[in-house]
Amino acid sequence: MGIITSILSGFALAFIAPVLYRFGRGATGWIVAMLPLGLAAYFSSLIPQVCSGEVITESFRWIPSLGINLSFYLDGLSLLFALLISSIGALILIYAGRYLSGHPCLGRFYLYILMFMASMLGVVLADNLITLFVFWELTSLSSYFLIGFEHDRHESRAAALQALLVTGIGGLALLAGFILLGQTGESLELSNLLNSGDAIRNHQLYTPILLLVLAGAFTKSAQVPFHFWLPSAMEAPTPVSAYLHSATMVKAGIYLLARLSPVLGGTDLWLYSLTTAGAATMVVGAYMAIQQSNLKLILAYSTVSVLGILTMLLGLGTELAIKAAMVFLVGHVLYKAALFLVAGAVDHETGTRDVNRLGGLWRAMPITAIAAGLAALSMSGLPPFFGFIGKELFYEAGLTVQSAAHLLTGVSMLTGMLLFVAAGMAGIRPFIGRQYILHKKPHEPPVSLWLGPVLLAGSGLACGVAPGLVDTSLVAPAVSAIIGHPVPVKLALWHGLNPALVIGTITVAGGLGLFAVRSRLIKVLSPLSNVVVLSPTYLYKRSLDGLMAIASLQARIIQSGYQRYYLLIIFTVTAALVLYTLISLGGLHGPVNLSNIQFYEAGLAALILMGALLSILTNSRFTAVAALGVVGYSVALIYIIYGAPDLATTQILIETLTVILFVLVVYHLPIFSKFSSVAARIRDALISLFAGGTMTALVLKATNVQFHPTISSYFAENSVPLAHGRNIVNVILVDFRALDTLGEITVLAVAGIGVYALLKLKLKPEGV
């Protein structure tokens, strides 16, 4: 019960948070942060259990007939993510309460971000694939609301929509992949699928499954060429960028790849697609990062780069690579969230995020500067930070691959150097050197704005100095969960003098060199950025425009706004469908029976047809009314001839009333004028004749159908004994089906009220 409670409590708090904000105001951030803090404590309490190799599952029936259950699965991998989500969530909530204080929609912000947190927990804890998918989509949806939080700005809305469309399309592919996976593996539960990896990898549907799942993971985790939505998402308030777009949501794709690697991993297709996409992403991201001058964009692109590194490592799939991925992931979460929060604090204090206008801030905001420095050093991969351990493992994993180790190492080194430069630009540069004149005089921000960065960056240092804090308790269970059997993980700062250390040192030296010449470097490389960045964005924009053009074209055709075109389509399509059905049911040949026709019947038929024709052709309103009267009374006579005296009576009464009413109304209307052209008339006449002819065919067919007589004969037999009435039609109306008649009377009464209201309604003159 613990897991589902932890998720549902997040949703529950989300919905009461706006109310809470009305009473809690400024303290709300601290109050709501208690929940993720409590959740973090709960997940920590599971560490010993999970470390001993235990897996915690919970299952609730949802749609058992389809194999869909609300089931949860907690192993080392899930636990690592759940801990990150809940503990960073707490810091973010405290931070956001202050960062956005005074914002008119802050109450709503808590709703969105708590909803996101709960959904994200759902993603990493779900056992059933459909459950996972539902939470996955909920994270996209809450991300949409959070990116578009400043909804009165066009850029925010556009960025939100872009993120939603890109991840949403990926999500649909993922759903298809999950369904295929469920059919192939004969279960939708991850816990079962994890044991049937071999069968799935050898199945003929393996390739489509993998490609669909990758489409979902790559869009969510911003892999090239889907990476463009992540920098755009920086329109979101900074706490959101820190939480969703660096620490958690963008890692959902990484989580999924890690989670499914025992099922789908280990093949050539897996290896090549993940390493290619990952390597491309890490270089493009790092390269783009140093091209930026906006603090948040530098961080966003470096996040893209790290997501590429993680994808590549998961693609390699060796024990070492998986170990590197998990260490790198934890390190990245710690330093990147810290740097984002620092960027927010700097923006909050100085009013700008432009790195070219920031410098020397350490004097005004020393605590923030220390946090930023620690985080940046970890990001640069310098000892004794956790980022250093991650980077060493990353190089080591690259060196041990069987093919293309040199290429991979070279690309990794390039990425490492560029990330080093980015770290310096975002975390060090704004705080040292000359101070610029700013609109606002910066001060040290309040505790809620530096608590998060200090704790996160401090943890990065602590884990680096004493990796024993996390290696056996968090990293080892996660690695074991991905590999599929227990793997011991012993992390240390000093690995001895090995190639990875040498490479690391070269990277740092190269990074320092590049940092020194960065302004010239940026200028030289900038023409490239147009190609790399603009093309996917351009494609996205063009396809969106195309979609809108098709939609408006379609709307123009279907939604013409003219009543008669709607009717035209309805008549034609209905008649064609009826005709098709009639033909497919055995042709149009009804028994044409022209014998046994009395002369007065033929006369009546002719009268009706002539009346109808006259009523539509005449130019005189009163002729039309009279012609309609002829039709109505003739129909009444047909009712009389064929044994329906009640119908005839009603028809005559109603027809009389209709004629009177019509005359009264039409008297006030203008005379008929011919509005439409001859061509339009001919077209309408042809379509009407076609539809009318179809109805004739339908009647001919229908008279041949032998109705089962039970219902009518029941009335015929029981009318006298049960209802004591001899007129069976009357008995049906007032006795057997009296309730229907009550409904009919109600309709009449409502129509009567409507008529009365319309007649009595006084139009107010304009402006009164």
């Binding site: 064929y642 044994g643 109603i654 109304v665 009407s688 009518s712 049906i732 319309l758």
Partner: protein, 115 residues
């Protein structure tokens, strides 16, 4: 007679459709009346015609003598006639009101008028 009535019904429908496709709103109402009559006759004819044998139980008998006209469609049509009239009355008054307010009976000119 079935065949003749089938043609009559088809004719009524065709006239009703044609009338509804006109731009004048009064023609729309005329089309509505024609369609009501056509549909009532359609139900009446489709359920089988019996000449001159109304579904009335004669005095002294306990059940209907065969053959007789089917009472059930008659009950349905009776309801339909009455409801059709209710709707028609409402439409007519509405048309009257629309003309008073907008001053046109051309449906193409009724677009985008918010009075």
């Amino acid at each position: 007679m079935d065949t003749v009535l089938a043609i009559v019904i088809g004719g009524l429908y065709a006239a009703g459709f044609y009338s509804m496709l006109r731009r004048s709103i009064v023609k729309l109402v005329i089309g509505f009346i024609l369609l009501s009559n056509a549909t009532n006759l359609l139900i009446f004819t489709a359920s089988g015609l019996t000449r001159g044998r109304p579904p009335l139980v004669i005095e002294g008998a306990n059940a209907l003598a065969q053959p007789h006209a089917d009472p059930l469609p008659q009950a349905l049509i009776l309801t339909a006639i009455v409801i059709g009239f209710g709707v028609l009355a409402f439409i007519l008054v509405l048309v009257h009101r629309v003309y008073q307010t907008i001053g046109t009976d051309d449906m193409d000119k009724m677009k985008g008028i918010d009075t």
